[in-house]
């Protein structure tokens, strides 16, 4: 051993006390060879004396000297003990043997980490994909979308669509602020190439500067001019494949709706990330120039994007926009008695702003992302806790190893290194497995959750994230066991005395409680969310949604023969009612203001244009006045009905409105209210019932067919045949009303699946952990159990003995997680206007706890049963 540095100097007392070592001397003392320290320190002190203490230059020179001393010839060796063979360095083979020796615990920790990492990998990429929507747009920070602001009876909301004249007017009125503008109009239509004919849903009509304004990449075509001609189109690679196979599509002609012909001038390249605008064909919007609606301020179907150079300018512009709206629509506002506002919404905010109504862009949900992120974190926690817990539980087995190594000269840091090395080995295995599994399961995962997640491993951020994550896991889960194991005193462990794990008991119990709290939380959340979805699907909507078929009225052939087609359907024996309307419940309902004569105030309502069959098809009861008469000649352009909500909002009785003339200024119409119908949920259950008017009119986009339950497939085939008779050149497109409604709840269904999946994973992991602990406990108390058995304990008594301590933990976990899940679920439910009552579902909370209780009890029993069965002669034979 080297002498203690403190007594190494022979200090001449006459020359004063040794210099109080400052940081520089301490560095030298710590790093340099002990035999050189005295001299070096002396030199440095003398040099400092010469340089003086005050000037920065002196200080700099001094530190230059200090650092220059740190060279190989001066540095000490850091090998402390001479007695440290390869045995104490991290030795992978030794670590591997240790892992193989304890197969079951290794398996538990390994599978825990694999599942945890798998969840994190999936969720990380899902979240990354979501956050990177439109990340490739070069100008994303200066693009804004024009959003209309409106209120319906006091409640403010934004509308994502605008009309044709906004863009030119904005460019004209604010030339210094708005540098460019681009309109995009999503459409659908029938595309025909030769004999191939498909109904395409993702067409986009855009201004000619579309490919300059945005950064959508083109594989073929010049972004500046590719859609300059009115009859040109740019298509995606999938579309090209669908219609032309491997042939070059450039220059080919496609026909849309039997009406328009377009020449293909460009090919879209694959997008680097996903985009809020979802399209696979881009046409020139000038095609619509000849139509009146395209120049009207009230036809709102397209999206207006503008570029504003700075955020301040955008804010300044937002303040001026009320004047802008007044300038162009002031007369209409006066006529309608209500105003509409306009605001510029940053492009990057559009994707996550899913509160905007009637929006034709893709949306994501920040809440979903946060929830999923937390779930991934929770799963990972559980896996880490498992590892910590099992390592602690195992430590008694390895106490002797630690003792022997210490006696042979290993010091603590070496042992810590060794144990962390073992954790690292487990991590390396788990990461490899997890990545391989993730690649393998990705298609299944995407399919199951209805997602399109892509893995992008090559991204440096991804690599940093995962390396950081693995290091964090390693430190959080490897460090504590390593510290614990390396702290054993050789004397006490080698003497054969018991290793005291007393103080760790609290840590271990805490970890088990945390694991089960998370699991129970997820179980309860899963059940309640699926309850809510079930509630929405089965709640009486105020109308009968069963067996109603919605057929798109989407081509000229069928449009021209509307009444004849309906008549033909009516003759079918299995068809009860046939009607047509502008939309079906759950779909888009246009809004307008109406002015009922004799009433001082106008009211905003949503509208449906329908034929007399509408109320019958959906079984909507009439509460006052009359329903529509089937005599179209008198009824059309005359009759309208309103729901009870209109009366309630105006504070009127049915007799106050029936027979009253009603003006609809924005559409320049006049109707007479003939009756009042009962409220029904014409949107979805996330929204409250709003005022609604059903009018006799001719703007029918859909046929509604009520069929009976006999031989549905035959009926559908017949309907298809009848449709083909009337419309030989266009395919039929239809779906059932209840299927369409279910679409509204897709997001929530996805959420349920995610929760379900991860609550299963979490409870599985927690059980693995508790299983490991129970086996440890059974082993530890083997002798005690043997003696108890000899003294006459029954099997049940022995099983409860061990189970009890764990069951208490699960009990505590339920007490913790029940209020937390209550808080979470009630927060989640606020998004829904119609929701389940949590107090009615109190039993779910108990149920969640009970499930965890039962599963963990069964898991533990597997172990305790064996322990209770074991022959006492085996366990107490030795010693």
């Amino acid at each position: 051993m080297e002498p203690d540095p403190q007594i190494r100097f022979r200090v001449d007392q006459n020359l004063g006390m040794p210099h109080k070592p400052d940081i520089s001397l301490r560095i030298i003392r710590a790093l340099c060879k002990p035999e050189l320290v005295e001299e070096i320190e002396g030199n440095l002190l003398e040099r400092k004396d010469m340089l003086g203490y005050s000037s920065y230059a002196g200080l700099f020179k001094y530190w230059f000297e200090v650092l220059n001393y740190l060279r190989p010839s001066m540095l000490r060796s850091f090998r402390k003990s001479k007695n440290q063979g390869s045995m104490f360095i991290f030795n992978p083979r030794l670590a591997l043997r240790n892992l193989l020796k304890h197969k079951s615990t290794t398996f538990i920790s390994l599978s825990g980490f694999v599942i945890g990492l798998l969840s994190v990998i999936f969720l990380y990429f899902y979240i990354e994909n979501e956050m990177n929507y439109d990340a490739f747009q070069a100008d994303k920070d200066i693009i804004y979308r024009a959003k209309r602001l409106s209120t319906i009876n006091g409640e403010a909301y934004g509308v994502g669509v605008t009309s044709g004249p906004y863009a030119p007017a904005l460019l004209n009125d604010y030339p210094s602020t708005i540098t460019s503008a681009c309109r995009a109009y999503p459409q659908n239509g029938l595309v025909e190439v030769g004999t191939k004919q498909f109904y395409e849903e993702k067409m986009l009509f855009a201004d000619t500067n579309f490919f300059e304004f945005f950064s959508y990449p083109l594989a073929i075509g010049d972004p500046q001019s590719v859609i300059d001609d009115v009859n040109t189109v740019v298509i995606s690679k999938e579309i090209a494949k669908k219609y032309f196979g491997d042939l070059n599509p450039i220059g080919e002609i496609i026909e849309v709706d039997h009406e328009y012909k377009f020449t293909i001038t460009g090919l879209l390249d694959d997008l680097p990330n996903k985009s809020q605008l979802d399209f696979d064909m881009v046409f020139n919007i000038e095609l619509f120039n000849r139509y009146d609606w395209f120049h009207g301020w009230w036809y709102n179907g397209l999206i207006t994007y503008v570029k504003i150079q700075t955020a301040q300018e955008a804010e300044g512009l937002n303040e001026q926009l009320p004047q802008f709206m007044d300038k162009y629509m002031g007369e209409d506002f006066e006529r309608n008695g209500s105003k509409i506002g306009l605001a510029m919404e940053p492009y990057t905010a559009v994707y996550f702003n899913n509160k905007t109504r009637f929006d034709r862009v893709n949306h994501g949900s920040k809440t979903n992302i946060t929830i999923l992120g937390l779930v991934a974190l929770a799963i990972l926690f559980i896996a880490c806790f498992n590892y910590i817990n099992l390592s602690i539980a195992q430590s008694y087995k390895r106490a002797k190893e630690v003792g022997v190594k210490k006696v042979l000269g290993a010091n603590r840091s070496r042992l810590i290194l060794q144990f962390i090395g073992e954790s690292l080995l487990i991590m390396i295995f788990s990461v490899t497995f997890a990545i391989a599994l993730a690649e393998l399961l990705l298609p299944k995962f995407n399919n199951f959750f209805g997602l399109e997640v892509i893995f992008t491993w090559s991204n440096p951020v991804v690599i940093y994230f995962f390396v950081g994550l693995i290091l964090t896991i390693l430190i959080t889960s490897g460090l504590y066991p390593a510290l614990l194991l390396s702290s054993f005193k050789p004397v006490s462990v080698l003497k054969g005395g018991k290793v005291s794990l007393g103080s760790n008991l609290i840590v271990r119990k805490g970890l088990v409680i945390a694991q089960f709290s998370i699991s129970i939380f997820l179980i309860i959340a899963t059940i309640l969310i699926s309850e809510q979805i079930n509630f929405m699907k089965t709640k009486n909507l105020g109308y009968n949604k069963e067996s109603v078929l919605i057929i798109e009225n989407n081509n000229l052939e069928i449009r021209d023969k509307k009444e004849a087609f309906k008549e033909a359907l009516r003759n079918h024996p299995n068809i009860i009612h046939v009607g047509s309307a502008s939309g079906a419940p759950g779909g888009y309902h246009d809004g307008t203001s109406i002015q009922i004569s004799g009433q001082p105030e106008s009211i905003k309502i949503r509208t449906v244009f329908a034929d007399p069959e509408y109320l019958k098809i959906f079984d909507i009861p009439v509460v006052a006045g009359r329903g529509f008469s089937s005599d179209l000649s008198t009824e059309i352009d005359y009759a309208m009905m309103v729901n009870e909500k209109v009366l309630k909002d105006l504070g009127l009785k049915p007799e106050d409105v029936i027979g009253k003339k009603t003006k609809i200024p924005s559409w320049e119409m006049e109707r007479t209210i003939v009756g009042v119908f009962k409220n029904y949920h014409f949107l979805n259950l996330k929204n409250k019932i709003e005022p609604l008017g059903i009018m006799m009119g001719d703007f029918h986009r859909r046929y509604l067919v009520k069929i009976n339950g006999h031989n549905i497939s035959q009926t559908l085939a017949d309907i298809e045949e009848i449709f083909a008779e009337f419309s030989p050149n266009n395919p039929i497109s239809y779906r059932f009303q209840d299927d369409m409604l279910a679409q509204h709840y897709l997001d929530e269904e996805k959420q349920v699946r995610v929760f379900m999946m991860f609550s299963v994973v979490s409870i599985f992991l927690a059980c693995l952990g508790i299983f490991g602990l129970a086996s440890y406990s059974a082993q530890q108390r083997q002798k005690e159990l043997g003696i108890r058995k000899v003294l006459g304990a029954t099997m049940a008594q022995i099983m409860t003995l061990i189970s009890k301590e764990f069951m208490i933990l699960v009990g505590v976990a339920s007490i913790i997680s029940i209020p937390l899940s209550w808080l979470f679920v009630s927060g989640w439910l606020t998004d829904f206007a119609y929701r389940i009552d949590l107090t009615d579902n109190w039993s779910t909370f108990i149920f969640g706890g009970l499930i965890a209780f039962a599963i963990s009890f069964i898991t533990i029993s597997l172990k305790t049963y064996k322990a209770a069965l074991s022959n006492p002669t085996e366990s107490i034979r030795y010693e």
């Binding site: 022979r10 040794p18 001299e39 070096i40 030199n43 220059n68 001393y69």
Partner: protein
């Protein structure tokens, strides 16, 4: 033991050490190198050179002379060994020989 050849810098250090006699310790050597040969060295670098010379057997050293400025730490005083003196003489003779062989007119030409 490394080779016993003498580098240019090592030669300077050895000469300075002889010149300084009893005063030959690292700070003084460093100072002289700076003032006479205009060579900037750090103590760390110089220490390495001195140790190397010691390993080659040209120098020997002992710790002595703690002073107040040094916080009571002793310094390492260097002394040139016989081997050191020999190698310096050899080097000087080599140079003198070479100088003497230069023709007179060549010396005049370069104006020395």
């Amino acid at each position: 033991m490394k080779g016993t050849n003498l580098g240019e810098f090592e030669e300077l250090v050895l000469l300075t050490t002889i010149m300084l006699q009893q005063e030959a310790y690292i700070l003084r050597v460093q100072e002289e190198l700076k003032s006479q040969a205009n060579r900037n060295t750090s103590m760390g670098a110089l220490h390495a050179t001195l140790t190397r010379l010691e390993n080659k057997g040209f120098l020997k050293s002992e710790l002595a002379g703690a002073t107040r400025e040094r916080g009571g730490r002793r310094k390492r005083i260097y002394e040139v060994t016989a081997a050191g003196k020999n190698v310096l003489t050899e080097s000087r003779q080599l140079r003198d020989n070479l100088w003497n062989q230069i023709p007179k007119y060549a010396l005049e030409l370069i104006r020395i």
